[in-house]
């Protein structure tokens, strides 16, 4: 099978719930299968996706509502890079406006928070946010050869 054309990303749109996490992970796993990238790189991609998707499931929509998440992805640079775009229709939130969590705080004092977004940044080559109309758009880029 030829690699999917760079102009046509594959897409999956599902309810913004934790039940959708596994289908999203399976979907991306299927897309990068042919790139044969190292397993550890795949785990890092899964980590960034989990953090981003769980945040939308938890925080983006009012409780009880029917929110959605749409994930688009494609291989780029001849299979050397993975591009992922995650959209939701929840309240506007730029995850990269916040400061980094205080990694030097002692264990007892340390706030448990901010870690998810920090990990998204760490696991990606590039991570950008923009608001597009009523939609939050998170664009993530991963190198598939080695660890970022």
């Amino acid at each position: 099978m030829d690699p999917p054309d760079e102009a046509v990303p594959c897409r999956l749109k599902l309810p913004a719930t934790l039940e959708s996490l596994d289908p999203f992970q399976d979907f991306v796993r299927g897309q990068i299968r042919e790139s044969r990238c190292p397993q550890e790189t795949q785990f890092k991609i899964q980590l960034a996706l989990e953090e981003a998707l769980v945040n939308i499931a938890h925080y983006a929509y009012p409780p009880g509502g029917a929110g959605w998440i749409e994930l688009a992805c494609r291989l780029e640079s001849g299979g050397k890079r993975l591009w992922v775009e995650i959209r939701d229709g929840g309240r506007a939130f730029n995850p990269f406006e916040r400061g980094k969590p205080d990694m030097t705080a002692s264990l007892d004092k340390r706030q448990i928070g901010g870690l998810g977004i920090f990990l998204v940044r760490q696991m990606t080559e590039k991570a950008e946010y923009r608001r597009d109309g009523d939609t939050n758009v998170l664009t993530l880029q991963f190198g598939l050869d080695a660890a970022p």
Binding site: D22, F43, L47, E50, V54, F118, L119
Partner: protein, 110 residues
């Protein structure tokens, strides 16, 4: 995630296998709650079989650490591998817990 816990001389040992994510970590916390109720002073987590951890997993481990400290015990980690090791380092969690290369070293750390 597979969670196997066993009693050692002066400690409890919990071996984790598979993926520790937002869906599976609650089961880990429950398993630890039982151990902590048992009154053990040292809880050793063997992460050798863990291939994946997310912030939900880190948060669970942090929560378990707080509970066990509250009753005068402590937590020790061992066998951090691959992606799990890297996530612990990148997040600063590696410096917040005593970590060991082997189960034996961790058990001897009381």
């Amino acid at each position: 995630m597979e969670i196997v816990s066993m009693k050692k001389e002066n400690a409890m040992l919990i071996r984790l296998k598979g993926r520790m994510d937002v869906v599976t970590s609650p089961a880990f916390e429950q398993a630890c709650d039982k151990v902590i109720l048992g009154g053990d002073k040292l809880l050793v987590l063997d992460l050798g079989g863990l291939e994946y951890i997310s912030s939900a997993g880190l948060r669970s481990i942090l929560g378990v650490d707080k509970k066990i400290k509250a009753q005068g015990g402590k937590l020790a980690l061992c066998n951090l591998m691959g992606m799990v090791k890297e996530v612990f380092h990148v997040s600063g969690f590696a410096e917040m817990f005593p970590t060991f290369d082997t189960v034996e070293a961790a058990l001897g750390s009381t």
